[in-house]
Structures are given as C-alpha cells and as structure tokens.
Symmetry: C2
Subunit: 398 residues, 2 copies
Amino acid sequence: MKFIPIGGIRLATIAAGIRYQEREDLVLMELPKGNSCAAVFTQNAFCAAPVLVAREHLAATSPRYLLINSGNANAGTGEPGLLAARQSCSLLADAAGCDAEQILPFSTGVIGELLPIEPIQAALPSLVSQLDEANWPQAASAIMTTDTQAKLVSRQIEINGQMATVTGMAKGSGMICPNMATMLAYVVTDLAVTPELLQQALELAVAPSFNAITVDGDTSTNDACLLVAAGSSSLPKITNVDDVAFHALCEAVTEVCMVLARAIIKDGEGATKLVTILVDGAVDEVEARQVAYTVAHSPLVKTALFASDPNWGRILAAVGRAGVQDLVVERVGIWLDQVCIVRRGSRAEDYSESRGQAVMDQDEITIRIELGRGDVSSRILTCDLSHDYVTINAEYRT
Amino acid sequence: MKFIPIGGIRLATIAAGIRYQEREDLVLMELPKGNSCAAVFTQNAFCAAPVLVAREHLAATSPRYLLINSGNANAGTGEPGLLAARQSCSLLADAAGCDAEQILPFSTGVIGELLPIEPIQAALPSLVSQLDEANWPQAASAIMTTDTQAKLVSRQIEINGQMATVTGMAKGSGMICPNMATMLAYVVTDLAVTPELLQQALELAVAPSFNAITVDGDTSTNDACLLVAAGSSSLPKITNVDDVAFHALCEAVTEVCMVLARAIIKDGEGATKLVTILVDGAVDEVEARQVAYTVAHSPLVKTALFASDPNWGRILAAVGRAGVQDLVVERVGIWLDQVCIVRRGSRAEDYSESRGQAVMDQDEITIRIELGRGDVSSRILTCDLSHDYVTINAEYRT
C-alpha cells in the first residue's frame, strides 16, 4: 500500500480486545486545529449510535479526533448504546485534553451488541501516546472486519507548481450497498478548504464511487465517509468554487474514492469477479440505477457470474423485472464487454456461446445494457455470489 | 401425492428429449368443451414467446389443450421463438383435431435458447393417444425443472349436499418472485363457472399465495397460472358473485394455491428453512410488502437463517433500509415466533441468545415486524440462502 502521510494528521492503533482477539481493533486519528471536515452518513433508518453522536458533534463544532472501533457496530443498541458512544468520547476527551464534542466516534462490526466501554477506556492513554503521521497502514488494517485487504490510497495534484495530497482509507466487504455513504471511509487532504466547498467536493466524489457499488444490496447501519482538509499545506485556502485548485482537489478526491470503492468490491465477501454494470439509454438517472441495481442484486445473475456461465437469459430476465414503465423490449441491447448478446430484445444473431464464455472467464467484466429510451447513463460496480459469501455470512458470528 | 382427478380433464406426458435426457418433459392437458378458463401471467417485460401466444389465443377463444414443456423457457428468443411457439400449436391442432387458437403453449427452463420443434412434433401423436384423467402425478413431475418435489394437491367442497373438487399442480424452485402470477400452476375444478367469476376467483387466490412468495427475488419471464372450470359436475353453473357456491369455490381455490405456493418455497433451490415474514402496523399494503420483501431478499438475513444464527441485527438493518418514509425506529418491534428480539427499536431487555437460538433451530420460522405506523398487515413466504442455492445456480446449465 503506497500512501503519502498528511501533515498534521496523526494516527494510532491498538488491540483493545473489543471483540477480536490478537488483532488491532481501535484507531485514533488526530486532526489539526482549524481543519475543515465534511461528512456523509448512512440513510438506514436504524443508524447506529456513533452515527447519531458524530452527526451531533459535527453540527456543534469542528472535530479534533476520530475514534474508530471494529468488531462491534454499536447499532440497534438503543439508549445504552448512545451512552456508550458518548462515554467513549468523554473518556478520550479527558485523555487527549479536548472537549467531548470535538470527538467523532465510529463503529463497525456485529449489530445489536452493546459496545463494551472498559476495553476502550483501558486502551485510550496508550493510544493517545502513540499518535504518528506514519500510522496509516496500521489504521487501514485495524478498521477491517470481514475485509481481507486493507484499503489505502494517495493521489497528488500540482497547484501553482506546488504539490498537494489526498490520502484516503476505507473498510467494507459485506453489507455493502451504500446510500449516500459507504461503510467507513476517511479521506484527508493537506489543503485548506472552506467547509462548504469541502462538503461539495465530498458529495461529488461519493456519487460515482461509494454510492455506485453493491456487494449484497444490504445498506449498513454504520456507513460514514469523512473528508478532512487539514490545512497543513502552505497553499492558500480554497474559498472559491471557480478556483482551479478546487477542481483539481475534486478530481483527486473523486479518484481516491473511486479507488477505495473499487477495492471494496474487489474485496467483496467471497467475490471472485469485479463486475461493472453500465446502463445506457435511460430516460433518467433513477431508471438507469434501478436497472443496474436489479441486475447487480439478482442472485441468479450473481451465481452465473460465479460459475463463469454466460447465462445471459438471467440478465435479460432481471432487466425485464426492473420495473421500467413501458419498456420496449425490441429496443433493448445487452453486451458482455464488446460481445453483443442481446440485440433488439432477443439473442443476437452473431452471438456464440464461445464468445460469451471468453468474456465470462475474465476476472473483470462489464455488462452493458442499452435501454433505447433516452440519453442518461449510470455505472455501478458489483461482484459475484459465491460459496464463500455463504460461508462467511453463515459463520460470521460464530 | 393425494389428488382427485377432474371429470373431463385428461393428461398425458412423454420424454420428448427437448433438453433433459431420460425424463418426461412434455405435458398435454385436454380441457372439455364448454370450459371456462381464467389466467394470470408474468409482469416481466421480457415475457416469453409462449406467454405472448397464450395471451393471444385466450383472447380469441376458449382453450381445449394446454401444451407444456420443461427444459427450455423459449424466452428472449425473439421472432424465431414466437414462430416455434406457434408451430407447436399448429402441429398439435393437426394431431388433436382442433384449431391452433384452442391451444395454449407453456414453457419453463433455460432462457435464451430456441425451442426445438422436431422433438415436439415427433412426440405429439403418442402424447395425444395417451390422454387419461389419472395422469396428474406424471404431469406434475414432467413440468419440473430444478424442483425436487412434484407439487399436486386437491380440495373438496360440499355444495348442496354434493361434492365438488379443486385440483392443482405447480412447478417452481428458483427464479421465484412472482408478480401477478407464478412459475407455472394449473388449477382445475369440475364446477361450471362464468369466465368473469372464474377470473375473480383466480385473482383472489393468487394474491396471498403465489404473489406472496419469494425464493430469490427474480421474477421469471414465463410465469403463468391458470384456473379452469371444467363444468363436468352436475351442479348448476356458478353465475352470481353472491352465490354461496362461489364463496366455497374461492376458498378452495385459494387453499389449493396456498398449498402449492408453500410447496414451491419448501422446495426453493437449496432451501433448508421455510420462513414466514409478517409485517404488522403498516400504513398501507405497499409499505408492508416493501418491508417484507426487503427482509426476504437480504442475502445477510438469508445466510443467517441458513446458519440458524439469531443475528437479528441483520433483520433490523434490512427494515431500516427498506425505504419507509419517516420510520420512527422507537416504534419498531421484531419477533422470532413468540420471542421478542427488538422492542422500541433496540434489543429487547428480556431477549436472550438462547431463546433466539431455540427458534432459529426450527425448520419453520415466523419473523414478525411491527412498524407501529398503521393497521395494515402483509404476509409473505420465503426461504434461506444456502450453499446448495449457489451450487444449483452455478451449475444449472452445465
């Protein structure tokens, strides 16, 4: 994992023993004074206690610390869960010398179990003492749950002859179908940016990345994605939407989010294939995404992908049930990469099983669906459904 | 399979070799002159060629024969597929001595391959010669694809001291999420009923049965459900919606459909558990079904069910992402059978893992979700997601 640290952003990790034994599960990230912070959170109605507390704290003041645990989501835990999230902030405030409101808590892991506060309390002093700008890889590993790969990436941009950096990490593998956010992602730049522009940059970046991926259609209760502008660069603060530096930043943030989102799908639970679903010719974005997600969530399409079986009838059946009003099937086309499988609503005359098989045998596949209704396109990333997905999720708690 | 034949309804089966070797795959059902026939078909935009032809023929005249093949769905096959469906009707018309429009074709099996007409043509004379009222069990077996159990049931009702019968068969195991219809189901009564009342009886019966089940959320291109009133009973024809005989018939048809729908889910691909999802306290039916289907289709809920893991956080997360506007989580309750797992939006105080486990260990489970918003309820049937589901669907074509 090649990454570039960000001045003023220090991290620490520790094995607190919250759930996992013998692995790091608690991360502290220190943000410099005067940073700007933008965030998007899950739209799941049962959002977790730390999401509620983080939203509240963000509205009140600018954050100085992020406290992230894996192994326990502190979701569906009601008042005791909220209390535990608040307590973890108060305890850290004491240890770090700041206000509790300057701390944002994040949790990921099993839903419905109370977050134990003692192991966190015991770990905090040592965690605070170990903060270091170089600890990104350890942090990217410690936030993992069923992930098999840590997800960490940096991009540099040149602004007026000077380099600026965007570095991000994410976790996520199952319960992935973010809705305005993803599992957990933390993206930081050394640039100084006003909060409004930073939020704009984040929302731009999230739409084609974390909001366009699905492993299993299950939107998590704990999704959160933060974008922090540390302001440690000597470049002037970005305050104007027309500033070329803002556009360069947006591009870099989007690229970092795209790389992380792709890494999440590549590491999707049990995934053996990375599948892009591109819907063209839709009337609007809603319809395009509806078709894309229906295909992406079809267990029959997903198992055919796992089997490398060009069973394109399952794709066609999924398009047909996607609820598009007055779909004219004679205008529908479907391609596996460059191989046309369906033309004018039925099997393409020049299609052969061997050509379909050649695409299906690849690790990365694009399924393109032309609806022939308009000029709107949408692209999402997904993966297949394998035996390992069942194994992982039938055994996850045991 | 206990069943009661219906006077005037004769069936025949044969191993035509359409796709499967060494098993029967072609069924002919003869209906008596003067029957009434009601039908519902798939809402999938890519409905199969036989569905198009059956709809057309039904609109033109009263059917005398149903020709049903398994192994090939004749869907996504365009004009050549339509031609093949029409040809099979013409060929049978010649063999049986009727008009092609008096024949309804049905197909189920792999999507996207052209239906071979030669094996059907070769089989027709022998098929016609073997028609017999006793052949229901053979027919129920011959229409199966990935089903492991034939699905055949009868109910009798007493009308004015005389018995009338409803007998039905169905097939279905995967690609099950019927929308106004199911895979294939044929229900017949010996009563005489007007077509309008028969359609009413069918739609009443389908709503809580075939339209309230899901294995994998994938609506088939070939779903069809027929209700035939043979009129062979000596009881007077049912012509009035207020006739007590009509109510008795509706009840019996609904019961037959419920038994068949339940059999489809019990025989769901790879299914190890039969799961009822009951949503109470919804504002309307749409919302209740939306929550029920979101839970039923969640791969994480389904794999937890397979593992007999009372991982109720996954149920809660699915309810939370079901898109209910302004859901007040503090009013939400969730039960596994009689065990309350979530009360007022978080883990019930009296819940214990061992009580949840005891329910999860059962073969049949009811998940009840109280939304606390209104007084509308909805009930659907589903099953778990197991290794065998992946195996069956990763290997189905090979």
